[in-house]
């Protein structure tokens, strides 16, 4: 069956426990196990071909252009991990059925657990790096949910938060590393990345890639100095610890190292960082494990130590070390999962995990004790058990490496030290818990657990023994195939045997065993020595660090975001100055080489008027009506400026917009206070003046520097093709309706949307309606002056005629849809002003929303019309015709498009102004005679 089903089935399975929870605990457990079991069968059915060296692939394309697809691949390493994840996962499901108390929500627990399983399967089977990362993050999230499962406990919440923060931060580093790899290789496909070893190693990004990828791997697999989250994750229910924190999640980091081993390893940097981190973690974990009184704490530190061991193996420069690493991954998963389960049984049946209280349990639960002792011996590396084999390989490889040059002898010595402590803490686990006198006030009398709670432990312990005694038969093929996937090549020959003769590794094992016995025997001395150091709770340190970061962020946030828009604007302007002034300082000369135009009297007068108008607006800005009048002077000069500098279209547009804007602002001012109170302090005034002058200075200088420099414009193209390709001589209009017609379509859409938005804002507005002007004088009774009414009525046909003329000639002479639309609007608005809304409503039955809609529709249909002719969207067409009497004339599809623009502009302008005007006239309050 297709590989995609392997992670997909458990993903579907997340719903199963929630649905079957009501059917009882046993049913729920069986139903939950069903889909992962199916996945396991799919994996097993593919196993023979993978073991014979094939790599299976399967992909669902998603966005091929971006190299994004749902891609899975199954090779030896993926097979090994899938078997561990699904196999141990199924055992944990069975175990949790008995472990969870009736109070706990079983459905929720299984749901999280299966979600986690899906995520892990996704990581180990992904053939796309981005996809791998998504699953990677999913493991962080689902493990957060699992650790905080007993969310009423403070410890669980804090432990979960810590795990999420550390692994989540590592995930960010991993993403950065993956993006860099994708950048270097040009693809996110794992196949391609694995084939680009040289490319990656020789790229300048290699150090950054390596460090980022290692950060991701080390945080996940609890390597020093990120190891501190793992012991606190032990607040999770024990099945979770057995699954996540021994067999799977922490192994995801190791998996990452192994997966990218062929690409990233082989450099001094890799060997140095990875081996030293592994060695430190190995020693640190082994040493501290001995002093933990909590059963799970001891196992957690031992896990850290073993993860360090695997990392160290991957960081050594021999190929066999990688094989040993893979072998130890298998062995550690089996014995550590069984030990955690045993610890869970002890906790469950005796009510305590404190080794100072737990003593002499052998009498109460001999069967469980035997299983735990076998597993613990495997952890210590006792012969005939699987832990011995991989540890032996490890010792042997430490002797063959030369990672640290002439100092390489230090590695086997320290490895043996780690081995000594590993024996000592294993011994403590066995002796302290099962022997060493009688239990001390335990909450309940210990007894053997239910039959099936022991079954998962039995299976795992049996595997420890089987692998330990018959390694070649049981595990040989799998190990070989996984190792070849890690090495991406031939696996060096090695022999999986218990007896290699009397050699140095055997001596190291012996030293470790005897040394461990001695240390455990003299443990009191060591405990006293260790007691001198004040114990630091990593949780407290972490929490206070987090709190100070949060406080820092809050402080910064309050400074930057205090709710004052003026402050935001000021900060943005300061940033603008910082960003623009710096490059301008590197500009050597302000004046460019382009010859300048001579200034003449008319221009100087215009400029003086413009400047005076702008300054007057600022000076009188608190008297709003006057400011409006001075503003209109500025607008007028701007239109004249456009006319002066050969831009007739702009002059016409600005002139008509100016009229509409001033009318609009006057109408709005009716509903707003007529004056602005004086509330800025002199200090604030000076600051704002300085800031705005600085920005104005930068903009003015930029404008000057720009204008005085010669340039090459792409406009040559438009000038050359306007007549022949667009059928018009007014290039500005041809650009608007033809060359860049799509932009114009977007712009009139925005215009329409803005008008509709305004229409909605005006709707149902509760208004402040002044009954008189600011001095309290009532409004005039004479609403519509006679002369204005008569003159405007006479002007209307003329104005409409002008607008039609402007519209029709637009393609060849200054004019066009925008300008004609504005002129028509002004003509109609004049009627509103002269006659009032009611008068117009009776005579002009136009729905402005419909007008906007039909304008947009016409423009759109014109564009689509070119599809009928098999051309791209908005391709224009034109031709010349001859009619008797009228003569030659031209028809162009762009004209139709311009009609759409014309209608939209009229609709939008009138929708805004007529609705606003309606507010002022509809219910204008009239003062009665008495009030006067």
């Amino acid at each position: 069956m297709n590989l995609i089903w392997v992670p997909l089935l458990p993903l579907l399975g997340t719903l199963v426990p929630l649905l079957t929870e009501r059917g009882g605990r046993t049913l729920c457990a069986w139903a939950t196990a069903l889909l992962p079991a199916l996945s396991l069968m799919i994996i097993l059915s593919h196993a023979p071909s993978v073991l014979s060296g094939a790599t299976l692939k399967s992909a669902l394309p998603w966005i091929p252009a971006l190299d994004l697809e749902l891609a899975f691949r199954l090779d030896g390493l993926g097979l090994l991990f899938s078997l561990l994840i699904l196999g141990i996962g199924l055992l944990v499901i069975l175990y949790a059925r008995y472990y969870l108390s009736p109070k706990d929500s079983m459905g929720r627990f299984y749901c999280y657990l299966i979600l986690f399983m899906t995520a892990m399967l996704g990581i180990v089977l992904s053939n796309n790096l981005i996809q791998l990362w998504v699953f990677w993050e999913l493991t962080s999230i689902s493990s957060f949910l699992l650790i905080s499962f007993w969310s009423d406990k403070r410890e669980a919440r804090r432990g979960a938060r810590m795990a999420l923060t550390v692994t989540g931060a590592g995930g960010m580093a991993l993403l950065a590393g993956i993006l860099l790899i994708g950048n270097v290789v040009g693809s996110y496909s794992l196949d391609q990345v694995l084939a680009s070893t040289i490319q990656i190693r020789e790229s300048g990004y290699y150090p950054a890639i390596l460090v980022l990828m290692l950060l991701g791997a080390f945080t996940k697999s609890a390597q020093f100095p990120f190891h501190f989250w793992l012991p606190h994750a032990m607040a999770a229910p024990t099945p979770v610890s057995a699954y996540l924190h021994s067999a799977t999640m922490v192994k995801a980091g190791i998996f990452l190292l192994a997966r990218f081993y062929p690409v990233l390893s082989g450099t001094d940097m890799w060997f140095l960082i990875v081996s030293l981190t592994g060695l430190t973690t190995l020693l640190l974990g082994a040493y501290f494990a001995l002093f933990k009184h909590d059963l799970k704490g001891l196992l957690a530190y031992s896990t850290i130590s073993h993860l360090g061991l695997i990392t160290l193996l991957l960081g050594m420069d021999t190929k066999l070390a990688a094989v040993a690493a893979v072998f130890h991954i298998i062995n550690h998963a089996t014995f550590k999962a069984s030990l955690f389960m045993a610890a869970g049984i002890i906790d469950h049946e005796s009510g305590s995990r404190d080794m100072r209280k737990l003593n002499g349990l052998w009498k109460y639960m001999p069967y469980t004790a035997t299983l735990a002792m076998v597993a613990a011996s495997s952890m210590a590396g006792v012969p005939l058990l699987n832990g011995f084999l991989s540890k032996e390989m490890f010792f042997s490889e430490t002797l063959h490496q030369s990672t640290l040059g002439s100092l390489s002898w230090i590695v086997p010595v320290l490895a043996t030290c780690g081995g000594v402590f590993s024996v000592a803490y294993s011994l403590r686990f066995i002796h302290d818990v099962f022997f060493n006198g009688e239990p001390i006030d335990l909450p309940r009398t210990p007894h053997e657990p239910p039959r099936y709670m022991k079954l998962p432990v039995e299976i795992l312990v049996a595997l420890c023994l089987l692998v330990g005694i018959l390694p070649g038969y049981v595990i040989g093929d799998l190990l070989n195939s996984a190792s070849s996937a890690v090495l991406q090549g031939l696996v060096p020959s090695y022999s999986l045997a218990i007896w290699h003769g009397l050699n140095l590794p055997l001596a190291m094992s012996t030293v470790a065993l005897i040394g461990g016995l001695l240390i455990y025997y003299n443990r009191r001395v060591l405990f006293q020595f260790q007691a001198q150091f004040p114990e630091k709770d990593a949780k407290e340190v972490f929490e206070s660090l987090m709190q100070s970061i949060i406080a820092g962020c809050r402080w910064l946030n309050e400074r930057l975001e205090n709710g004052s828009l003026q402050r935001y604007l000021m900060l943005m302007l300061l940033l603008t100055i910082a960003l623009t002034a710096a490059p301008m300082m590197s500009l050597n000369q302000t004046t460019g080489s382009r010859p300048q135009l001579p200034a003449d009297g008319v221009t100087i007068t215009g400029a003086a008027l413009l400047i005076l108008g702008a300054l007057a607006t600022v000076i009188w800005h608190r008297k709003r009506m006057i400011a409006l009048l001075t503003l209109s002077i500025v607008g007028l000069i701007v239109s004249v400026t456009f006319a002066r500098f050969s831009a007739p279209d702009l002059a016409l547009t600005q002139l008509s917009v100016e009229v509409v804007t001033i009318i609009l602002l006057m109408l709005a001012l009716f509903f707003l206070p007529q004056r602005t109170p004086k509330e800025s302090s002199p200090h604030q005034m000076m600051r704002d003046l300085a800031l705005s002058a600085a920005v104005g200075g930068v903009v003015g200088t930029l404008c000057y520097a720009l204008m005085t420099r010669p340039f090459h414009s792409i406009s040559e193209f438009f000038l050359a093709n306007s007549k022949t390709g667009g059928g018009g001589t007014n290039v500005v209009n041809v650009i608007l309706v033809d060359f860049r017609g799509f932009d114009t379509l977007g712009e009139i859409t925005v215009l329409g949307i803005a008008a509709l938005g305004i229409f909605k804002l005006i709707n149902r507005m509760r208004l402040f309606m002044p009954a008189g002007d600011e001095r309290g004088r009532p409004w005039s009774d004479d609403r519509y002056p006679m002369i204005l009414a008569v003159v405007s009525q006479l002007l209307l046909p003329l104005a409409l005629l002008v607008s039609v003329y402007i519209f029709l000639r637009g393609h060849n002479m200054p004019g066009g849809g925008f300008i004609a639309g504005l002129i028509t609007s002004v003509a109609i608005i004049q009627q509103y002003v002269a006659h009032g809304v009611d008068f117009i409503k009776d005579r002009l039955k136009l729905n402005y929303q419909w007008l906007i809609g039909s304008g947009l529709l016409i423009a759109m249909m014109t564009g689509l019309g070119s599809w009928v002719a098999g051309r791209p969207f908005l391709t224009s067409w034109f031709d010349h015709f001859h009619l008797p009497l009228i003569g030659d004339f031209e028809l162009a599809s762009a004209m139709l498009f311009d009609l759409g623009v014309y209608l939209t502009v009229i609709g939008a302008t009138l929708l805004i102004l007529a609705n606003l005007g309606k507010l002022t006239t509809a219910e204008r309050p009239v003062l009665t005679k008495e009030e006067l």
């Binding site: 221009t603 109170p677 860049r740 712009e747 305004i758």
Partner: protein, 120 residues
């Protein structure tokens, strides 16, 4: 001529930004209008200043002005109007719903030293 033009753009920008930094909505809208004049003039100037060049294709013309900035500015003027309209209607609505015309929607508190000293 270029110097005069740049001076106008600079002063319009200064005035526009100064008004946009005020605390009441109406001066802000007026400031935005001034600022949009400045921006349009700036964009227009990127085609360089020409007094005598032709704007429309003609047989007798040899030099043309750059039509591209003109086309850009033409739509910018119309969109700028829509923006101004939206801002001013929003200001009206804010005054109607919030009871004041301050940009933050609430008057500066009395304890704010920068404001109460100046209030008449």
């Amino acid at each position: 001529m270029e110097m005069t033009y740049a001076l106008c753009v600079g002063i319009l920008t200064t005035c526009g930004i100064f008004l946009a930094l005020r605390g009441r909505t109406f001066p802000v809208v007026v400031g935005l209008t001034l600022l949009s004049y400045a921006v349009n003039l700036f964009l227009f100037a990127s085609g360089r200043l020409n007094v005598e060049d032709a704007a429309v294709l003609m047989d007798e013309a040899t030099q043309y002005t750059d039509p591209l900035p003109q086309a850009l500015v033409l739509t910018a003027i119309v969109i700028g109007f829509a923006m101004t309209a939206f801002a001013v209607i929003l200001a009206m609505r804010a005054r109607a719903d919030l009871g004041n015309d301050h940009v933050d929607g609430r008057l500066p508190s009395i304890t704010d030293e920068s404001s109460n000293k100046e209030r008449p």
